[in-house]
């Protein structure tokens, strides 16, 4: 292999170089801007992560698996995974092998950006083909074929997306279309260019036969330069369109992985970490099929992918509309192959709208500091009768209960925190306390006469400052009880207690986990007499807290557990979520019906859930009994 073109330059590299220069400058400026938007503390965290070998290893692994091999998409659908991986990995390998060839054969050209890209044009094969040379020819043709097969699949997906496991795909915008057209033509053009040149520069199983084929009816030499021009132009155009298209995810995604592994979080909806997330979205459209709202076609424009697109375009009206509507069920986040926390961005966006809304929670503090004084009556209203009694007992009664009643000391008891929603489903409380008694568990009922909300609904509405007050108050209440274990019935409460409360040293469990432990320890025994059932994974329990195994473990001992159409992290929101602000009753009803349809495809006798909100939402619409896991366990306990 020897240099054919003296000077190692030809005019056709200009379009490529222009595109390349543009994209480098653009990325450089974008990077600096992004860094200035990251809070200084996070910036330090980021730089520290770059010298931490453990994080660095994770960075490399994640980039290889997620950006190049797209393992997550493979897990969803083999063909779709292959489509993404073949283009990404194949292209990457073409670049790598191209560089190796240059280093080996024309080391004097090292550092010329365009040289490995157009390598075949600039060199010629001399004498017999060595094994080494044949090997590289083979590799280059192999990876080119890989990319071409991916591009072919991508074209096929445009017309028949269901074949690749996608019911709906993203509507491309103008820049997407331009970049897409370039991307689709880059590799066929490269094949043509290398085939025409194969007589001079050599080739392998793909390019050589093409050369001979064309040789029969075309004058190959006359086509060499035009096809290289076309190839270079397609590349250049692609780079020019890149920042404005979905393909911006190629450079951003790797960077996002570095930021994420460094432990950074969304602070503002449009800047810093969020911006890296926004530009990492590949518009793959997986979140469209995932979203439970899309049971109605009119909700398609409210999918996360369009939320992100409008964020990129700074279209505030649309951004607010979408972020207010989302159920925050987290399904799109769980399925997103890039791991974009769109719910976090939506929360931050809501905070810009609602965080400064006036609130007055002085009653919370009065309840604590002076338990006997009456609550502050509102001007212009009568003081609610009985207020002082209720306020006074809020914290005092729990402490008294925990310390005095029963046999054990407070630290041996569990604190039961039912939560607002559970008070609307008394069956849960009745059955769970029944289980407490059957198992001989000593418990203190924290909010028997009504407590204060856990704060999660406020957080979901973007009112973080208000939530902080509630959280502080509840933290005190729980700490003062002296109990070392809190059992919760509502997954919404559980999530916020785990994430936002400072309750070190206190174990937080959902009642499914608690019941599972009781069964494992033999403190209660159940009979398998419950018939057939299906389990609904509540969003906040499954995707929210990662609790999937325990409920199944419990239910398997009670009867026949049937499968739902979507299970585990793909479970469909019941429609009652507190996350959505603007979804109205009718739209929620449609989601509930869709979720029920997915649950009942195998015709179970009962639907079991583990969240009071799901229970209430389903019970209104289901054609068969819906019950909480506590109820079905309590009803099937065998008396010792």
């Amino acid at each position: 292999m020897r240099e054919r073109i003296a000077g190692g330059y030809d005019d056709f590299v200009i379009p490529f170089m222009v595109g390349m220069a543009f994209i480098f400058i653009y990325l450089f400026i974008a990077l600096i801007r992004l860094f200035t938007h990251i809070p200084p503390k996070d910036r330090i965290k980021f730089f520290k992560s770059l010298v931490n070998p453990k994080i660095l290893y994770k960075d490399c692994r994640d980039i290889l698996l997620d950006c190049l091999l797209h393992v997550k998409i493979f897990k969803r659908n083999l063909l779709l995974g292959y489509m993404h991986a073949s283009i990404a990995f194949g292209w990457f390998m073409l670049i790598v092998v191209g560089h190796i060839e240059m280093w080996l054969y024309v080391p004097q050209r090292n550092g010329l950006l365009y040289y490995p890209v157009f390598f075949r044009y600039f060199v010629k094969q001399e004498g017999d083909l060595t094994i080494k040379g044949a090997f590289f020819f083979f590799l280059m043709d192999f990876f080119l074929l890989m990319v071409l097969s991916g591009v072919g699949l991508a074209m096929y997906k445009r017309f028949r997306s269901t074949a690749l496991g996608m019911r709906r795909t993203t509507k491309p915008c103008f820049a997407d279309r331009v970049a897409l057209a370039c991307l689709w033509s880059i590799f066929p053009l490269r094949l043509l260019a290398e085939s025409f040149t194969a007589g001079i520069a050599g080739g392998s199983f793909l390019t050589k036969p093409m050369y001979w084929l064309f040789n029969n009816f075309l004058s190959n030499d006359a086509h060499i330069l035009p096809t290289w021009w076309a190839y270079s132009t397609a590349l250049g155009l692609f780079f020019l369109a890149l920042p404005f298209s979905r393909y911006m995810h190629i450079p951003t995604e790797a960077f996002l992985i570095l930021l994420r592994n460094a432990g950074l979080k969304v602070t503002k909806p449009r800047k810093g970490f969020a911006e890296a997330e926004i530009y990492s979205c590949s518009s793959c459209g997986i979140c469209i099929d995932a979203c439970p709202m899309n049971i109605q076609k009119k909700n398609l424009p409210f999918s996360s992918v369009y939320f992100i697109r409008f964020l990129r375009r700074h279209n505030t009206r649309k951004i607010n509309q979408i972020s207010d509507k989302c159920l925050m069920c987290g399904k799109c986040v769980a399925l997103c192959p890039v791991g974009i926390e769109s719910c976090g961005i939506k929360r931050a966006q809501r905070a810009t709208l609602y965080n400064d809304i006036k609130h007055d929670y002085t009653y919370l503090h009065q309840a604590h500091h002076t338990p006997d004084s009456p609550a502050h009556p509102l001007p212009g209203t009568q003081a609610a009768t009985g207020t002082s009694a209720a306020t006074g007992t809020l914290s005092a009664s729990v402490q008294a209960d925990a310390k005095l009643s029963g046999r054990g000391t407070a630290s041996e008891k569990v604190l039961y925190f039912a939560g607002c929603m559970t008070h609307l489903t008394p069956s849960v409380i009745k059955n769970l306390t029944g289980i407490f008694e059957s198992s001989g568990t000593e418990y203190v009922f924290a909010d028997k006469d009504g407590g204060v909300c856990c704060g999660r609904p406020l957080i979901l509405a973007g009112r973080e400052d208000a939530a902080k007050e509630v959280i502080a108050r509840n933290t005190e209440l729980i700490r003062n009880s002296g109990c070392k274990k809190v059992v919760l019935s509502c997954p919404i409460c559980l999530k916020v207690l785990k994430e936002e409360y400072n309750l070190k040293g206190i174990e937080l469990v959902h009642h499914t986990q608690f019941i599972n432990t009781l069964l494992e320890q033999g403190k209660i025994k159940v009979s398998p007499t419950a018939g057939s059932m299906v389990y609904h994974n509540p969003c906040e329990l499954g995707r929210g807290c990662g609790i999937y195994k325990e409920p199944l473990n419990v239910l398997q001992q009670l009867g026949e557990l049937k499968k739902a159409a979507k299970e585990g992290k793909e479970s469909i929101c019941c429609g009652g979520s507190l996350g959505s602000l603007t979804l109205n009753y009718e739209d929620r009803g449609k989601i509930t019906q869709g979720s029920l349809a997915a649950l009942t495809i195998n015709d179970p006798q009962k639907i079991i859930t583990a969240c009071p909100l799901c229970l209430k939402t389903f019970a209104d619409k289901a054609d068969r009994p819906v019950m909480d896991i506590a109820q079905i366990v309590n009803e099937n306990i065998c008396q010792k």
């Binding site: 006036k358 609130h359 609550a375 509102l378 212009g380 207020t387 609307l424 909300c453 509405a461 602000l581």
Partner: protein, 107 residues
């Protein structure tokens, strides 16, 4: 009226001229559910915050219709957005969004 200094309780006179029609129209635009309330009081009965301080979706809507905007805010500023009122409302009113919208529009 009420200025003689004899009144034992604050005046409860309603002056419909004080209804802020512009703001109310804006509220209806943001959350049309406000028109659906039939003042049944289920929301107030189940209210989490109402256990501690007078908090009432129903009273707030009535106050707005009676031109007592400040009272409406007072009825809602203790709200914890827990969503119980949404769950019990027989008219399926999206109360949480209504509460946020009232607080935002009339603040």
């Amino acid at each position: 009226m009420g200025k003689f200094g004899f009144a034992l309780s604050p005046s409860s006179r309603i002056n419909l001229d004080e209804v802020d029609k512009v703001k109310f129209a804006k509220l209806v635009e943001i959350e049309p559910d406000v028109l659906k309330c039939m003042a049944c009081g289920s929301c107030t009965a189940s209210c989490t915050a109402g256990k501690f301080v007078k908090t009432s979706m129903r009273s707030a809507i009535l106050a707005l219709q009676n031109g007592k905007n400040e009272d409406a805010i007072n009825f809602l500023k203790g709200c914890l957005l827990c969503g119980k009122c949404t769950m019990v409302c027989p008219r399926a009113i999206n109360t949480r969004h209504l509460i946020i919208s009232i607080l935002k529009v009339y603040q």
